[in-house]
Symmetry: C2
């Protein structure tokens, strides 16, 4: 039944496993069915509660998914990077607003075509399932992060997460703003900035530019992230 009772939230983000996105590409067959869409910075892919007609896969750039409280407070539930699949979590309506963080290209698939391929090609179906499971586990990790980790622990966890998802061990590109990161980690922009500055002053990371960090001592960063 797990084989037909799976749902998902987000791309694979659990740090323990190799990124799902780097596995051999079962999406190849699907790609022929999708259409490429170019998005300007801040362009909206879909709004929360829009009818969920499409799935998307990020090709270049980055997408953020957000929820809002009545008074405008924002929470960024996930960043989607190249290779990540968006929309698996939607039932009939999208649960978030999705926006391009930078100039971004995505492939857009109709739900119909994805569903058909999943039905026809078991490997592809299982692959989606695997993405879903990792996304679920990632969401659970995020609950612990938001509920119980300190600012610096959250930042360290975030950096390692992004690094692993990029397949990079050293140099990490952060396309999103400090405000975006803060809204993802339940912090303010200033706290994110201070946290990065502090990690830098300790020699754990280096800031090559404000959107490019280098991990200088991964062991220490992991210790901080895992609250050892």
């Amino acid at each position: 039944m797990p084989a037909n009772l799976q749902l998902q939230i987000a791309p694979s983000t659990s740090r323990a496993q190799p990124p799902v996105r780097k596995a051999p590409d079962e999406f190849a067959a699907l790609d022929r069915l999708g259409s490429v869409v170019s998005l300007q910075r801040e362009a909206v892919l879909f709004h929360e509660s829009d009818s969920a007609e499409h799935y998307f896969k990020v090709v270049t750039g980055a997408v953020r998914c957000c929820k809002f409280l009545a008074d405008g407070r924002r929470h960024v539930s996930e960043f989607y990077l190249p290779g990540d699949f968006i929309g698996l979590d939607a039932e009939s309506a999208y649960q978030f607003t999705a926006e391009a963080v930078t100039e971004t290209t995505v492939v857009r698939y109709t739900r119909r075509s994805v569903e058909a391929l999943a039905a026809q090609e078991p490997r592809f179906g299982r692959r989606l399932l695997s993405i879903a499971c990792h996304g679920l586990s990632a969401a659970q990790q995020k609950l612990v992060l938001l509920g119980r980790k300190t600012a610096e622990e959250r930042i360290a966890t975030f950096l390692l997460d992004i690094a692993d998802r990029c397949g990079e061990t050293e140099c990490v590109s952060l396309p999103m703003s400090r405000t975006d990161i803060g809204d993802h980690l339940g912090l303010t922009m200033e706290t994110v900035s201070r946290g990065l500055s502090h990690l830098k002053s300790e020699g754990v990371i280096a800031l090559e530019s404000s959107h490019k960090i280098r991990i200088r001592d991964r062991d220490v960063l992991e210790e901080i992230a895992d609250a050892a």
Copy 2:
């Protein structure tokens, strides 16, 4: 494809819909396949990373699912109340430790029997799917709660959530301790207690006993919870 790409975290907790648990009971056929288990207060149902052999349904009492950081900090990812189904989120291993909050009885099913019934009985399969989707949406709401809500907003949200899941509009029973609630909401026991005291002093709730609260002004409680 959503029909065979669903996974789950937790019972239905989104406040907008009627509780799934109160729908006509497609579990009847399954119940014959399960065995009843009685649990003492604090008894462990399963540990995180145990091989996931069983699903459970709470009959009476309450179960909490927890994750721990290396230094012992705890996060309670969910409370499961009578009618709630536990274990749908597990792939091959459980993602949490599950413990009885009070004296509790559960029905235990083998994964095999649940999977067989889901395959054989489409209504049952769809029901599980529906539980899964609501659980997912609930988890997303929790991310916003932990990331962006204040202590009092979290407490108000929690009370309304529990009330709705019990099918009660007024009198809510809270079987778990203040510490359990705190670990669920990302707060300390003391902050939970102060929050409840404050809501009481404002006349929004009444505390009939420390584990029994009465909602006296639901409109105000909802305003607080939704950060209007």
